[in-house]
Symmetry: C2
Subunit: 288 residues, 2 copies
């Protein structure tokens, strides 16, 4: 019996908790504030930002979307980030990727106050995660959402094998760090990996984040494995699909995320959760 | 034919380059400065610090050893680090580990100016490495020294399998990051790993940093593998030995580091190299 990991349902549960936490803060006169900066007119980015804004507003978060023209200079963008850094009403700052050519995205991310780095992309927060430092700091939302999914399955992860396919800064690398910190034996594969299938077949937990449609097929999966598909690809008919051939893998996996309705909704729910975390932490309130 | 990777000889070559670089800087009126802070009277720490001081002095680096009593307070230690941060004659600052109980080592490390973090332990530098950011920043010296060793073998690493046994902040984790950045497929194993031997036998490059004497034996190694032993253990006769059973593994490996005379000398040579890097970078001089 394969479990389909219902990201939509789990996201609803996380969002319900977030909404309660926002309400509790609001009662104390505090409203979590999220500033999203979007530069230029990339269509996909506009949709992502609109979805984040809508969800934040639904949950009672004060969501500010700052739309800037593609002609904005690096210095102007830095100044805007610094203004949000200094604004006590803003607890989370997010610069929507990608930025137009000519802007240095890494330099902008490094300008964000690490305590307001709601995406968890600031190298200081990346380093804290990778070194598994104690304390409270934001981390990348997609892998954090995946950890919430794994937690929901009540698995015994310690000592088991995880394989992460993809080594991006946003998903693959922080995912590997979180799984190492969860005491799993973790392998990181990527575009240069030879004999990928041999490796993925060893995985008790397989996370695939490559953007290659249906890269992972039935024979690449160990029977009973937990399969997490981060892909958001379009098939030949323009239909949204993943990096995993869901139909082929489905009854071989122990649990599997669908696309859509798997990792995607969890990422945005985690972003909202983390906005409220940052707000609580800034108020010296715990949430663990 | 197995290559014994002669860390002592390679360290000599690195040190010779470092000495030349120091001489070139001195001619321009700049002397690289290294401040080593040691707290309390741990015997092993005292030996390490003495060796660093001796080597730095030999190479023409201005080495300052600041010995503090175990009774020093966190605030006093922070103030001393901050004074070195502000001192333009000091390019590298190192706080010898371990600190006496009661002092928060992570908080002290986070106080070091990341541009003077010669050990590469500051979470900002850890994050830069793990995210594989471009630019110049210090990294952990033991794994950097191991990368120099691998470079000296002129291997084709891309796409090959690496297994790192141990997930410490100082060796295992940054080692894994560097090998991922070198386009290897990397697995991280540790104390909770099951079937360790199965995993290590897949490694083209095997790095062992566990502190468990002779954990890796002949049958745990793939024929022809490159075996890097970070262990500095004492056998039952008090003799220095490694995490790898050198005699058993020797003629099965393609190349192997001895203990002593392998990774150890490279770590200290890399520390000196990185002190001079920091000095050159602070002067806006390139070295790549």
């Amino acid at each position: 019996m394969t479990t389909i990991i219902d990201g939509k349902q789990l996201a609803k549960e996380v969002n319900a908790q977030t909404k309660d936490r926002v309400a509790a803060l609001t009662q104390r006169g505090i409203t979590p504030g999220l500033a999203v900066i979007i530069v230029g007119d990339d269509l996909a980015s506009a949709i992502y930002v609109r979805n984040k804004h809508k969800k934040a507003t639904q949950l009672g978060i004060n969501s500010i979307v700052r739309q800037l023209p593609a002609t904005v200079s690096q210095a102007e963008l830095v100044a805007i980030v610094q203004a949000y850094n200094a604004d006590p009403a803003i607890h989370g700052i997010l610069v929507q990727s990608p930025l137009p050519v000519g802007l240095d995205e890494q330099a902008i991310v490094a300008t964000i106050d690490p305590a307001k780095d709601v995406d968890g992309f600031h190298p200081l927060n990346v380093g804290r995660l990778f070194a598994n430092l104690p304390g409270k700091y934001p981390v990348s939302c997609t892998p954090r959402g995946i950890m919430t999914m794994l937690d929901s399955l009540n698995l015994h992860l310690r000592g088991k094998r995880a394989v992460v396919v993809g080594r991006s800064r946003i998903v693959g690398r922080p995912m590997a760090a979180m799984l190492i910190n969860a005491d799993m034996t973790v392998s990181v594969a990527h575009v240069y990996t030879k004999d990928l299938s041999e490796l993925t077949r060893e995985a008790d937990v397989l996370v695939v984040a490559t953007g290659v449609t249906h890269l992972i097929k039935r024979n690449d999966v160990k029977p009973g494995a937990i399969v997490i598909d981060v892909g958001m690809d379009r098939d030949e008919n323009g239909k949204l699909t993943g990096d995993v051939d869901f139909d082929g893998v489905f009854d071989r996996a122990g649990a599997i995320t669908p696309v859509p309705g798997g990792v995607g909704p969890m990422t945005i729910a985690t972003l909202m959760q983390q906005t409220v975390d940052l707000c609580e932490w800034s108020e010296q309130l715990g949430n663990d």
